[in-house]
């Protein structure tokens, strides 16, 4: 035991509890370390004992985002299957050192947890995975606050966290952490990608009224959209912050009717967005004439699940951005969609895609590093550039752990256009990666050290 604490400053509690039992194991530790010259410390759950690499999938299973969580979990299970047995994007991803027979000779296994879309619950659940189930990486989730809460925990405990669906600038901005990575795009990129296209479509002299969900993601989304549209020549008439729990938006929509705005920007996500969009349509905001123009509604962040919730009669013709859509025709997307459909009988959502990619990317980084030692794996992920995963050439930027890739601008299909229950979004344009790349310094924040203190 004493030997073990020599090599590790952070003695885990379990190691104290099991002090007697692990005495023998600790004796053999120096030999183990000698084999891996770079590994000087036990960090988090490294080194892995046994021949299984355990991953933790922490997704919302209850609450408003349970459907997204269920889809994330499906994708995770598929990713584990592919890592162990080959298939899916393993065949399209480049560069890749994945073998399709486990990772670094270990079989991949997983445990699941419920974030309840509540940062506190998510952290407790993550701790279970880390302390009891000994995961080497965990990921998932469907909200930025949950992602941020978990990535701070990840950094404190030395476990890599691959965030699921999180779109707030803060995740890789002021709250970025060395142990957290994001594959999803963010509010800033949405603004840069969407503004030129709506300006082209609706004209450069538009007057916009924003409704913004009053929480961190909403604020960053509003801020990004305001800057990007004003750069295109638009005027921002007003912005109203709407409480997160609102179900009825009529009082805000009335204020818009009373103003001289001719575009409504809904910085809402999830049920907020489904409600506000449906109600804006109900208030006639897509037919009214204002300032001699037809009023328009813009939804910056679009997802197929939300489009489904609103119904295609509401979303038809509405423009927004999305991370990925199952109708993409590139080889990576096709490989993923085909195997997902074969497994579950329907196409995956963008949340599923993000979670699937991140699992593969993490596993690949371990293969490239030749070890599970977190600082080495992180260094492999930082600045890693890859292709064949559905978004074209993609980069994990080293400075803030944000992914940069082409951004899809989509439009809701009308009931007549859609060919099936899941065919709701039509690709309008793709904004190239170079255009949406911004300077990482604008958001501040510190990644922190490679080794948790």
């Amino acid at each position: 035991m004493t030997k073990k604490s020599d090599v590790s400053k952070t003695v885990s509690r379990r190691s104290i509890l099991k002090a007697g039992a692990v005495g023998a194991a600790a004796m053999s530790a120096p030999m183990f370390y000698a084999r891996n010259a770079w590994a000087e410390k036990a960090i988090g759950n490294y080194p892995i004992s046994g021949d299984t690499m355990m991953l933790g999938f922490n997704v919302p299973q209850t609450g408003a985002y349970a459907d997204e969580g269920a889809d994330e979990l499906r994708a995770y299970k598929l990713a584990v299957k592919h890592l162990n047995n080959g298939g899916g994007m393993l065949e399209t991803m480049t560069p890749s050192k994945l073998t399709g027979s486990g990772v670094l000779g270990k079989k991949v296994d997983f445990v699941t947890g419920d974030t309840q879309t509540n940062p506190d619950a998510a952290r407790t659940s993550a701790r279970r995975m880390i302390e009891r189930d000994k995961v080497i990486m965990f990921g998932g989730g469907s909200s930025s606050s949950v992602a941020i809460a978990q990535q701070h925990l990840a950094h404190d405990l030395g476990i890599v966290f691959m965030a699921g669906l999180t779109h707030s600038n803060d995740t890789t901005g002021k709250d970025k952490r060395r142990y957290g990575f994001r594959h999803f795009f963010n509010a800033e990129m949405t603004g840069i990608a969407l503004a030129p296209i709506i300006a082209k479509e609706y004209g450069k002299d538009r007057r916009a009224f924003h409704l913004t969900a009053d929480y961190s993601w909403g604020h960053t989304q509003h801020d990004a959209m305001k800057r990007a549209t004003e750069a295109q020549g638009w005027t921002t008439v007003n912005n109203i912050m709407t409480p997160l729990k609102s179900t009825d938006f009529s009082q805000y929509l009335t204020a818009i009717l009373n103003s001289d705005a001719d575009v409504v920007v809904l910085n809402h996500y999830g049920k907020n967005m489904v409600n506000s969009l449906s109600q804006a349509v109900e208030f006639g905001m897509r037919e009214l004439q204002k300032n001699g123009k037809t009023m328009e509604v813009v939804v910056p962040l679009f997802s197929r699940l939300m489009a489904q919730g609103a119904g295609s009669s509401k979303i038809q013709g509405v423009l927004g951005t999305t991370n990925w859509n199952w109708s993409l025709q590139d080889a990576g997307s096709q490989a993923f969609v085909k195997s997902f459909e074969a497994e579950y009988g329907f196409p995956p959502s963008m949340a599923a895609h993000t979670c699937y990619c991140q699992t593969l990317l993490y596993a690949n980084a371990c293969e490239m590093a030749g070890t599970f030692y977190p600082p080495e794996v992180i260094k492999q992920l930082e600045g890693f550039e890859f292709d064949g995963m559905g978004n074209g050439k993609t980069l994990y930027r080293a400075e803030d752990h944000q992914c940069f890739k082409d951004i899809l601008v989509v439009k809701g299909k009308s009931p007549a256009e859609k060919t099936g229950e899941f065919d709701l979004l039509e690709l309008v344009d793709t904004t190239p990666r170079e255009t949406v790349t911004y300077d990482h310094k604008i958001f501040g924040g510190e990644l922190g050290s490679y080794e948790p203190s």
Binding site: T112, D114, D120, A121, H155, D175, D214, G448
Partner: protein, 326 residues
């Protein structure tokens, strides 16, 4: 209650201490893990304090998240901006929590029954909204108050893992001892009299308002200490700490365990957290449905919670001789 003195009623504090102090050493054999045991103690402390209000006076507060949350924020801000030493942080947190308790208690304790519950709920929701929007520059809004790279210490000893557990354990044992003292003190008896008949008590000339407020504040101090410990255990503050669902969970824990028994709510807290984090895993997305059904069953069939269940089992299997004598 049971006439035949059980071992527990003979030596409550030593036995309680034994269970609490040995807890981390056997918890993992039933699927527990280190982070959860500390969290259970913290919630148990809050549930214990809540019982001083609900169990003694019968006042159902839906706003105890206020004290838990406010003191959590105070602790977080102190750790982040002042010093990682926990004593000043806890001190300030408890003071802030107590001031809050006097203010909220003074206004709400004038009402009773459902009107009291709604008033406490309303204060809680107003504070939660403020933390989320108006004060988000201080509180970090829904991202929570993140406290990167701060490791709380007590006299230079880092508070994590077992050291944190034993700190929480020491406070909980002390809290339990004091709660038992309060229960048998004249003050506690008056609080209990408020529950059974407030009007009669008023006729005797006792300033009931003052006693009620006292009970409320003591109960809130327990919640403040719990909130402070939560942030020391994990340097991060979630806005959910202030949300009414935190108060709601507290009510559910107390009812499941057995209101008015002091030990019951603590068992309820342990059960809830254990269920939510360990038993929920095999149940998957249906865990909340199962919990809802268990909760309903307890309210319907066991109004006294687990403690009543225990008492019934005891009566059935251990006190046969007593019954026969009757």
């Amino acid at each position: 209650m049971n006439k035949s003195t059980s071992i527990f009623s003979k030596y409550p504090i030593p036995i309680f201490s034994l269970v609490v102090l040995s807890f981390p050493f056997w918890f993992e054999y039933i699927g527990g893990y280190p982070g959860l045991d500390t969290k259970i103690l913290i919630w148990a402390l809050m549930a214990l304090g809540f019982d001083i209000l609900l169990g003694f006076t019968g006042y159902l507060s839906f706003g105890h998240a206020i004290f838990f949350g406010v003191s959590a924020y105070a602790t977080g801000l102190m750790l982040k901006h002042f010093s990682p030493e926990i004593i000043p942080a806890m001190f300030i947190a408890v003071i802030v929590g107590t001031i809050m308790a006097f203010a909220v208690g003074y206004l709400t304790m004038k009402r009773s029954g459902i009107y009291f519950s709604i008033l406490t709920l309303a204060f809680g929701e107003m504070l939660n909204s403020a933390a989320l929007s108006t004060l988000q520059d201080i509180t970090g809004g829904d991202n929570g108050l993140t406290i990167p790279d701060v490791k709380p210490v007590l006299f230079g000893i880092r508070m994590d893992g077992l050291s944190m557990y034993f700190l929480a354990a020491a406070i909980l044992i002390l809290g339990y001892y004091l709660a038992r003292r309060i229960a048998t003190s004249p003050f506690g008896l008056i609080l209990k009299a408020i529950k059974s008949n407030q009007e009669r008590l008023e006729y005797t000339g006792i300033d009931v308002q003052k006693y009620k407020l006292g009970g409320f504040v003591i109960s809130a101090i327990y919640a403040s200490i719990a909130g402070s410990l939560m942030v020391i255990y994990e340097p991060y503050v979630a806005t959910e700490y202030l949300h009414w669902s935190t108060s709601g969970e507290l009510v559910i824990m107390s009812v499941m365990g057995g209101v008015g028994t002091l030990v019951g709510p603590m068992i309820g807290a342990a059960f809830m957290l254990y269920f939510e984090n360990v038993l929920s895993v095999p149940l998957g997305e249906e865990w909340l449905l199962v919990l809802g059904i268990i909760f309903m069953a307890i309210v319907i069939f066991l109004p006294g919670g687990f403690m009543e269940g225990l008492a019934r089992i005891k009566k059935r299997y251990f006190n046969k001789s007593n019954k026969e004598e009757k």
